[in-house]
């Protein structure tokens, strides 16, 4: 049973958006091209977040982890993979999305309680990750339910 078109299109668009934003954050971390375009006040402060001790995990920049995550998602949510008959692919996709959401919850906790600042670019990646999780989980459930009732 092929997945619904909305699921294929929305997951791919979200993966592309996530790759773009996390790519920008990774670029900012490693290069001197341009500062992050981000408003700055007592609550919102991108620099404070992206330069905090929580911006790396065991020495690996969180921005880079985000980029790698979205590159994996980009592959998993490509139309070819949606059409693929590989066993357990749906479970792998959900597992990766769940891992992403768990990490996002950790980062939100760090921003709110440890860094005391919010980074808008990071928040947009968090939002994309959560919507991606919702789309995949609900979409997968609807698809398998539909397949079951049609068989």
């Amino acid at each position: 049973m092929p997945p619904p078109r909305w699921l294929v299109v929305s997951s791919l668009l979200l993966a592309v958006a996530g790759t773009a934003v996390s790519g920008y954050l990774t670029l900012d971390h490693y290069t001197t091209l341009a500062p992050l375009a981000c408003p700055e006040n007592a609550t919102i402060n991108c620099v404070k977040v992206t330069t905090s001790s929580y911006s790396t995990l065991h020495g690996v920049p969180v921005a880079l982890l985000g980029l790698l995550y979205y590159l994996v998602m980009l592959v998993l949510c490509s139309p070819w993979m949606w059409r693929s008959q590989l066993p357990r692919l749906a479970q792998v996709r959900i597992a990766v999305a769940t891992l992403g959401v768990a990490f996002v919850l950790y980062l939100i906790w760090a921003e709110l309680f440890q860094i005391n600042a919010i980074c808008l670019w990071c928040t947009s990646v968090h939002l994309i990750t959560i919507v991606m999780f919702a789309v995949l989980v609900v979409g997968q459930a609807l698809t398998s339910g539909r397949a079951a009732t049609v068989d």
Binding site: Y30, T31, T32, E40, V47, L105, A134, R146, T149
Partner: protein
């Protein structure tokens, strides 16, 4: 002849040729199909409910985090700051100087810039290291700490910043300042060690001792807070700051008299006003120090090192 029907639960036997037997078999098959469809529909509904529940749990966790943060934030405001610790308002003033203010000020009213030195790179954990040696009684240290705290907050996060005042009996008495004693600093780009060698409390003709620099760091002071790196007249002065083994600061970088009579909160609040003398001095010095720190970090992070105010202050 005996006929068999292959049903979902296995082979079923029916009476041969009987009209009643065929009808019963058809009815039974129909019932089985309906039962299977009902079970599949239930399973599909269960999966949808489960997925919606999973998404709802994620959203609820985020909402709970935000609610706890708001509730905790209110409590923090209501609770008095522990003695010796910088209040949230002071910390916020120092760590969130608006970029627009920094850019408008550039070098501001800096009177003395860090001096480049030729020395082995000072590093820790593969990161450039900054060493500050000062004392809580020292009025020039009082001035420099504000700028150091602003500059370093751009590269990392302060915790447990203290507050103190300079000696009541020295030049510029009771100058309000931060204290690096007990403060911790975490950064991806830098390592920082701060020593406040004495308190501001007189003791036996001097001041009560506080932090003791490590032998290695004391050797840095002995070596570089001396001629030919600094003029003979200011050799041994504090504050002494070594920025990655590439720049040193010995003494105040601006006229600290501008802080006279101001409270910690007033100084912190003034940092966002590009027209205030306090911001021009402290943020200007912070920009100059930031520009030199960028030289030892290889101009990262770009968000800090390409700030127009920092770039202008560094030229």
């Amino acid at each position: 002849m005996v006929r068999y029907w292959a049903g979902p639960s296995g082979l079923r036997r029916f009476d041969d040729g009987s009209t009643m037997g065929k009808a019963a078999a058809r009815e039974h098959r129909q019932q089985r199909v309906e039962a299977i469809r009902a079970e599949q529909a239930r399973e599909a509904r269960r999966k949808v409910v489960l997925s919606v529940t999973a998404v709802s749990v994620v959203i609820l966790v985020i909402v709970a985090l935000i609610v706890v943060k708001i509730a905790t934030g209110s409590n923090t405001t209501a609770t008095s700051t522990p003695p010796g610790m910088a209040s949230p308002a002071v910390v916020a003033g120092v760590t969130t100087v608006p970029a627009a203010t920094s850019n408008a000020i550039a070098a501001g009213t800096v009177t003395s810039r860090p001096v480049p030195i030729s020395a082995p790179a000072l590093t820790a954990d593969s990161k450039p290291r900054i060493v500050y040696v000062g004392a809580e009684y020292c009025p020039f240290c009082a001035g420099e700490r504000w700028a150091m705290a602003v500059a370093l907050s751009r590269f990392g996060t302060w915790s447990n910043l203290g507050v103190t005042t300079s000696s009541a009996t020295d030049t510029y008495p009771n100058t309000a300042s931060l204290s690096f004693h007990g403060a911790t600093y975490a950064s991806t780009y830098l390592s920082f060690t701060g020593y406040e060698t004495t308190t501001n409390q007189p003791q036996g003709g001097s001041y009560a001792p506080l932090d003791t620099p490590s032998a290695t760091d004391q050797a840095l002071v002995n070596r570089y807070d001396a001629t030919p790196f600094v003029p003979a007249s200011s050799a041994g002065s504090i504050p002494f700051v070594d920025i990655g083994g590439k720049f040193i600061i010995s003494g105040a970088s601006y006229d600290v008299s501008i802080l006279q009579g101001l409270s910690h909160e007033q100084i912190a609040a003034a940092l966002k006003d590009p027209n205030s003398a306090v911001a021009k001095a402290i943020v200007g010095t912070a920009n100059v120090i930031t520009a030199d720190i960028c030289k030892v970090t290889g101009n990262v992070p770009s968000s800090v090192c390409t700030m127009p105010g920092v770039v202008a202050a560094g030229t």
